[in-house]
């Protein structure tokens, strides 16, 4: 038998300093839902050596897709939403299908019933039905330095690294607890880099950035310094955030050398090795673009790239509803659809039941995060390629 340090999950108080009101809520004086929420905050606070709880201005909650949270999650949220209400602005990650065409792509009636129940539970809790993994692109950002609680990993990393906000890399439950209490755990200032990675690929595309993120996430604990990356555009930045969030625990990156850290090169060989791990097929039956979802700017770029061209196979394009509506007004959506794409909102590539191994053997995508979950959860083959190549190889004039 080994002596191991006990992490007290249920017995307050630990090193996290609670106010009298917080103690009372933890003791159940404000009802069961808030008691559960404070229990989660205390447990996560002790796990991360947090000093205290601090207010948040915005919570972004994951755990919406019936495909990922299942019956247990659906029942938990139904029970919770009988009495609880959020106390801060709260937005939601994607769910399992597009609510305007829930019957498409073989979604079963049972799936739709359960998914609708989850949607209703979040509505009762007072959560905004954003169904997006890129809240940072569809909402106005609060002032720099504002503390938020983002669960979606690409969004947490984007918030900390690009948007100037502060968030823990929250879990589905800790972000929900933050939504219900208006608070999160504070474990000191943002972590400095503990690993330094050099982008050794010349003119890296979004796949190179995603693979580099996936590589760096395995090396760094809290944050990573990235050199040689130039100024990545939106598509590359989002790909980097998503790759980094998938493989590790990092909550931020910074562009720079990372003083005093030994530089690890991400060159051709390293990129090939990560590519081989995630890209398992040659070609595919379906193309998916997203994970993270495409914002309005990317839809505009896509429509320009697709003008006068047609895909030879189905191409699914995932974007937030707000971005789709704007893209319709601007004419981007018409061009994208004319090229043979289907534009879907409320859901995303990752873990959607819309891509099932019953119908599809392998998928072509430019998303490193998408590749990881398509391979491991949907269990389909993946052909990972940058968007420019996908368009070159899979479309014809027409």
């Amino acid at each position: 038998m080994h002596a191991v340090q006990v992490l007290y999950l249920l017995c307050p108080p630990g090193p996290v300093e609670l106010t009298a009101e917080e103690e009372a809520a933890l003791a159940g004086e404000e009802g069961e839902a808030l008691q559960t929420a404070y229990r989660i905050l205390l447990a996560t606070g002790e796990a991360t050596d947090a000093e205290r709880l601090v207010p948040v201005e915005w919570a972004h909650v994951s755990g919406v897709n019936y495909n990922t949270i299942g019956d247990t999650g659906e029942e938990f949220l139904a029970e919770l939403s009988r009495s609880a209400r959020v106390r801060t602005k709260t937005t939601l990650n994607p769910m399992g299908y597009d609510s305007e065409s829930p019957g498409g792509h073989g979604v079963t009636a049972e799936f739709a019933r359960r998914q609708e129940s989850i949607k209703e539970s979040y509505a009762r809790l007072g959560v905004e039905p954003s169904f997006s993994c890129i809240p940072y692109e569809i909402y106005e950002l609060p002032p720099e330095g504002t503390r938020v609680a983002f669960a979606e990993s690409n969004a947490a990393i984007y918030a900390n690294s690009v948007a100037g906000l502060n968030t823990n890399k929250e879990s589905a439950f800790s972000a929900l607890a933050s939504a219900l209490t208006g608070k999160t755990t504070y474990a000191g200032p943002p972590p400095g880099p503990d690993a330094a990675v050099h982008m050794g690929i010349k003119d890296p595309d979004e796949v190179a950035f995603g693979l580099m993120g996936f590589f760096a996430g395995k090396l760094a604990d809290g944050a990573v310094a990235i050199s040689g990356a130039g100024s990545p555009d939106t598509r590359c930045t989002k790909s980097l955030c998503a790759g980094l969030g998938t493989s590790g625990t990092c909550s931020r990156y910074e562009l720079g050398e990372g003083q005093g850290l030994e530089r690890v090169d991400f060159g051709r060989e390293e990129m090939q090795s990560v590519h081989d791990e995630l890209s398992t097929a040659e070609g595919g039956d379906v193309i998916t673009l997203a994970s993270p979802q495409l914002g309005l700017g990317e839809l505009g770029e896509l429509s320009a790239m697709l003008a006068g061209r047609r895909f030879g196979k189905m191409c699914m394009v995932f974007c937030p509803r707000a971005a789709q509506n704007k893209a319709r007004r601007l004419g981007y959506a018409a061009t994208i659809e004319r090229a043979g794409c289907e534009i879907l909102s409320d859901c995303c590539t990752c873990l959607t039941p819309l891509i099932s191994r019953d119908d599809v053997d392998s998928v072509i995508t430019n998303s490193v995060k998408g590749a990881y979950y398509l391979k491991n959860s949907n269990r389909v083959g993946v052909d990972l390629r940058p968007l420019s190549e996908i368009i070159k190889q899979e479309t014809e004039r027409g």
């Binding site: 205390l42 796990a47 247990t72 879990s171 439950f173 607890a177 491991n376």
Partner: protein
Amino acid sequence: MPINFLGAVDKKTGEVTDSGHDLHGRSFKGKILVFPHGVGSSVGAYTIYSLASHGSAPAGMVCKKADLTVASGCALANIPLYVADDTEYDSLADGEQLRLPA
């Protein structure tokens, strides 16, 4: 190896399904799961909660570093979670009997 509870674990059986993982094909149901830390999706917390609902959860977990996904999932699922220091962690061997302090 670190575990991504969403995507690498069967929430009904407690089996590790990621073919690249060193615990691939093994079930941790009723055992003490020793791994460095969780990675990846924040929704993994629901997987841990679901494992408990299906009776397939580990009896306890030992990590080197507790991340929010694992800690919050264990909190809601009432699974004891222990954070071991490096020396303690490295001294643990596969298959050995371990008693976790209550």
